[in-house]
Amino acid sequence: MQTGYFGEFGGAFIPEILHETFRRLTEAYETARADPAFWNEYLRLMENYSGRPTPLTFAENLSRRFDRRIYIKREDLNQTGAHKANNVMGQGLLMRRMGKTRAIAETGAGQHGMACATMAARMGFECTIYMGAEDVERQRSNVFWMERLGATVVPVTSGSRTLKDAVNEAMRDWVGSMDNTHYVLGTACGAHPFPAMVSWFQSIIGHEARQQILAAEGRLPTHVYACVGGGSNAMGIFQGFLDDPRVHLVGVEAGGKGLASGRHAARLASGTGVVGVAQGYKTFFLQNDDGQMLDTHSVAAGLDYVGVSPILAHLHASGRIRCEAASDREVLDALQLLMRQEGLIPALESSHAVAQAFKELPTLPPEAVVIINLSGRGDKDIFTIADALEDPGWRRYIRKKAAEYSVSEA
């Protein structure tokens, strides 16, 4: 009866009106999962449309610097520049199977929304993206692309006007539109089957990485690092190594201004997350004594979320994975080091994995082989990253640009 649990985490805590919708989705997902033709179709699509398999790049200069062998899994090279493509294209294929014609999605910084908008454009679906009003203000460039791709972007003004409110609003839309609409949830969270389904699509990362490291090194990695917001890229790469207990799997959460400051999004690493139920599933949430969700903080919008994948919660509780937090400051330093050493421009989210690896590398045994999952690229986030780095040239440019606009519109 109680399906979709991972240890004590997960489940489907949804309004009754969505019960049948989730039942049908679960059925469609299970049927697709049991059908090798579906996965083959998915692999072909990702090869053809998103350049998969993505490389496992040997980080020559960093390896020399740290005197350990360091590899980087290049999810930044996907269509739209992040692992999000794996999930949206998989769910798009599933939508076709279910005969749905309209995609809705929540988005925080806009990465998932943008990925979903490209999927909808490619597959010929209508598309509505819910985005916190505050995020719409902060992430104009992604809103611009979503709209240009044909999606309707709805600013959400309820609650704290950020990602979790966008999730709630997308659920409200779905309650009224489920006949023709599929909710393309962006991460391995939410009610069953989403955590399992999203993790399945993202497992493509881990499958590739395992083959690639075996080909390159003839052995498994000793350590794998991935950032954890909702947790889908971490679930993706970890699944390649879950059954190999000697591979250390490290999930890196947003340490924000530091765990002691309370201004972070470290649900697992901080030890202050409490098991609860919200947004359809049971996991560790950052909440107060009354059970109200707290505001979270991170320099990386994609990690700034109050819950975490129930599957990761289970892997954390059972000791299979280790969870750490990297602070905003450490992340900005890591981002610059990776750029200068390897010429790679990581997203702020992915830089958390990089930062934690850099912290640990000097203490690892000399024979360590490390994989860092570079879940997304940063050049598309130029506004955010230039802001975070307080780049003076960029500020001058924006001021000049703003002045030009105010003249031309006057």
Binding site: E16, I17, D290, G291
Partner: protein
């Protein structure tokens, strides 16, 4: 299951109306929105103007089953510092002040979990609350909560089931078997606060509900005018009024809420005497 005290109360209230098609009014409000003091005035105005049952919503930061108006009210109550402990004390006071009205708590499961599910339900029973409406805890997850209601409520605290038109007959049957007090029927595909069509599809849905439970049926969502209440006569036993009352409150305070319910229940009495 034999009728609980809430069901017996509802049946008796229905029998008091001298008509073939009696109907009760159930109102809804969000605690702490805009303040507990204002809640107190609104509840008094509702009680004075013919409201038969009341749902008191304990605010939650993630109200996924509520429409934008009520969701916003949840957030505003929290922004003004609402605490659950205070809310429960207020509920106790309200129950004592209006002993003729059955009060129900509506909230989300995490509020119960944070306090401890058993402890929350024991508190509700001690306060004299007559029912719990928890829209994000589906029946297959609610066995322990339902058992706690029976244990601590001793027939006076019901776990209210929700029936929806999207459920299959099999699913309705599964839920109907667990019904106590009354069932809350969600009248449309959609969330609270949008216009409901009281049409043939509603009648068909209610017929399906009647087939799975003998408890009274409350129909929620979309009641805005006396005609909407009349349209539910002979279909449902209880008309639920939520968002519309909040809109009246925003426009004219507690007095406007009283006037609004006065109109809804006067329409009811007129029809009863015809």
């Amino acid at each position: 299951m034999s009728p609980t005290s809430l069901e017996i109360h509802i049946r008796a209230r229905l029998a008091e109306q001298a008509t073939d098609h009696p109907i009760l009014l159930m109102s809804h409000l969000v605690l702490g929105h805009p303040s507990l003091e204002e809640n107190r005035r609104v509840i008094a105005a509702m009680a004075d103007n013919g409201v038969d049952l009341m749902e008191l919503q304990i605010p939650f930061s993630e109200p996924i089953a509520d429409g934008p108006v009520i969701a916003q009210a949840n957030q505003s109550a929290l922004d003004h510092g609402f605490r659950v402990e205070e809310g429960l004390a207020f509920i106790g006071e309200t129950v004592r002040r209006h002993p003729q009205i059955p009060f129900l708590i509506m909230t989300y499961f995490n509020i119960l979990l944070a306090r401890g599910v058993e402890r929350f339900i024991r508190t509700a029973a001690e306060l004299g609350v007559r029912g719990l409406i928890i829209p994000d805890l589906p029946p297959q997850e609610a066995a322990a909560a339902m058992a706690a209601c029976r244990e601590f409520g001793k027939g006076n605290l019901d776990w209210i089931q929700l029936l929806t038109p999207t459920s299959t007959d099999e699913r309705l049957g599964y839920i109907g078997e667990r019904a106590a007090g009354f069932c809350y029927c969600v009248a449309r595909k959609g969330v609270t606060g949008k216009r409901t069509d009281f049409d043939a599809s509603l009648r068909h849905f209610i017929t399906r509900c009647r087939a799975v439970t003998s408890t009274p049926l409350a129909v929620g969502f979309g009641v805005k005018r006396p005609e909407d209440v009349d349209a539910l006569r002979g279909v449902a036993d209880i008309a639920v009024v939520g968002t519309a009352a909040m809109e009246h409150h925003a426009a004219g305070g507690a007095a406007a809420v009283g006037t609004f319910f006065g109109e809804l229940s006067r329409g009811r009495r007129t029809a009863a005497t015809v």
